[in-house]
């Protein structure tokens, strides 16, 4: 599995790539992280991306920032973690501050509000499509856990931490039992 993914050549390439994927992330960076790291660069397989994402989500902090830290550390140690995170944050932070200064004048304009709503509708679709695409990496019976997480958190809007407190031990426990079987990896 690992041998199908390549690696970033330098810290500069790492910075530029994370900067670029963050700047594409209108309404959310995750779909672009998946697209750039997996589909374009081939730095991660889809399976590896899901595994990194799983740890990134369970750790405190923003998923995509955690993903950058873990990915950067994997290839360049702590320097890579810092560079990938900085790549993701520095330019977008300057941009969002600039927008905030303008925002005071523009936010209440109806066409701006509708433009943002149109953009958010697409961004939501990208996130949903990313989840569906990643779901293909999973054996069908394991997807039951994903469906349970979606129903509890997405549809029923139950608070995240209690849901995870049930689903995480359940998932890890089932996998622990299954890990004995020679058929599973």
């Amino acid at each position: 599995m690992r041998d199908r993914s390549t690696a970033p050549a330098s810290l500069a390439e790492l910075f530029i790539t994370f900067n670029r994927l963050a700047l594409h992330g209108f309404g959310g960076v995750l779909p672009w992280a998946q697209r750039v790291l997996v589909e374009e660069r081939g730095w991660l397989t889809r399976e590896e991306f899901v595994e990194l994402l799983a740890f990134a989500q369970l750790a405190p902090g923003p998923n995509v920032c955690n993903l950058a830290i873990m990915f950067g550390d994997r290839h360049f140690g702590w320097r890579g973690a810092v560079v990938a995170l900085a790549g993701m944050l520095v330019v977008p932070a300057a941009l969002v501050l600039t927008l905030a200064i303008l925002h005071g004048q523009f936010a209440q304009i109806p066409w701006v509000q509708r433009a943002v709503a149109g953009m958010a509708a697409v961004a939501a679709g990208l996130l949903i499509a990313t989840a569906l695409r990643l779901a293909r990496t999973q054996p069908a019976r394991w997807l039951a856990l994903g469906v349970a997480a979606f129903v509890a958190v997405g549809v029923l809007r139950w608070p995240l931490v209690p849901v995870l407190a049930v689903l995480v031990p359940l998932g890890v426990g089932l996998a622990w039992r299954g890990a004995k079987e020679p058929a599973t990896r």
Binding site: A22, L23, H24, G27, G28, V29, V50, E51, L53, F55, A56, Q57, A59, P60, P62, C65, N66, D73, A81, L85, L89, P92, A93, V96, L99, W111, R114, A115, V116, A117, G118, M119, A120, A121, V122, A124, G125, L126, L127, I128, A131, R133, A135, T137, Q138, L143, L145, G146, A149, F150, V153, G154, V155, L160, G171, V172, A175, A179, T184, R185
Partner: protein
């Protein structure tokens, strides 16, 4: 804003950071209580606008905290808030990841990878669903979301043009 206030601002975000499982937005009610109600460093509208703007703008949504810091204390506030919300959680993630990477092939670590992966996908789907339900207030916006799903699933083309199309469609009143 005094140095003591900047320290208080930093400590506020740093103390919420380790609690921000699934992203910092879940801790935003506590931020609102502290920044708006208790300290009155910004108005309710400034608070809500900061979240909306960071979500629409390119970049990680955590940048809403940068904006909150800026609203509270200008440039130094923006820097202090961003470092405060990210540093503790990033250190936890960094060392936890090193621990699991060092034991990649251990049975427990393999079980964690196997068991968590489908949950991660379910949570990602939830995030998209929640945004869609909140944002898509009429059938045209919902149609735009469905179109984005279909295009992203079945086309290899860069979907950035679709985000632009969504913005234009909104701006000229098509959706």
């Amino acid at each position: 804003m005094s140095t003591a206030d900047l320290v208080a601002l930093f400590m506020h975000f740093a103390s919420l950071s380790p609690l921000a499982i699934g992203g910092a937005l879940g801790t935003s009610p506590e931020m609102h209580r502290y920044l708006v109600d208790e300290r009155a460093w910004m108005s309710h509208t400034q608070f809500v606008d900061s979240i909306a703007l960071a979500q629409a703008a390119p970049g990680p949504n955590i940048l809403f905290v940068t904006l909150l810091g800026w609203q509270a204390a200008g440039g130094p506030g923006a820097l202090i808030a961003t470092v405060g919300i990210l540093l503790p959680s990033s250190l936890v993630c960094f060392y936890a990841n090193r621990l699991q990477a060092a034991h990649r092939d251990a049975r427990l670590v393999r079980a964690i990878r196997r068991g968590l992966s489908p949950i991660a996908i379910g949570l990602t789907l939830s995030a998209g669903w929640i945004i869609a339900v909140a944002n898509d207030t009429d059938w045209k916006l919902a149609l735009l979301t469905v179109a984005a799903i279909v295009v992203f699933l079945f086309s290899r083309r860069n979907p950035l043009w679709l985000i632009g199309a969504g913005a234009v469609a909104g701006a000229i009143g098509l959706v």
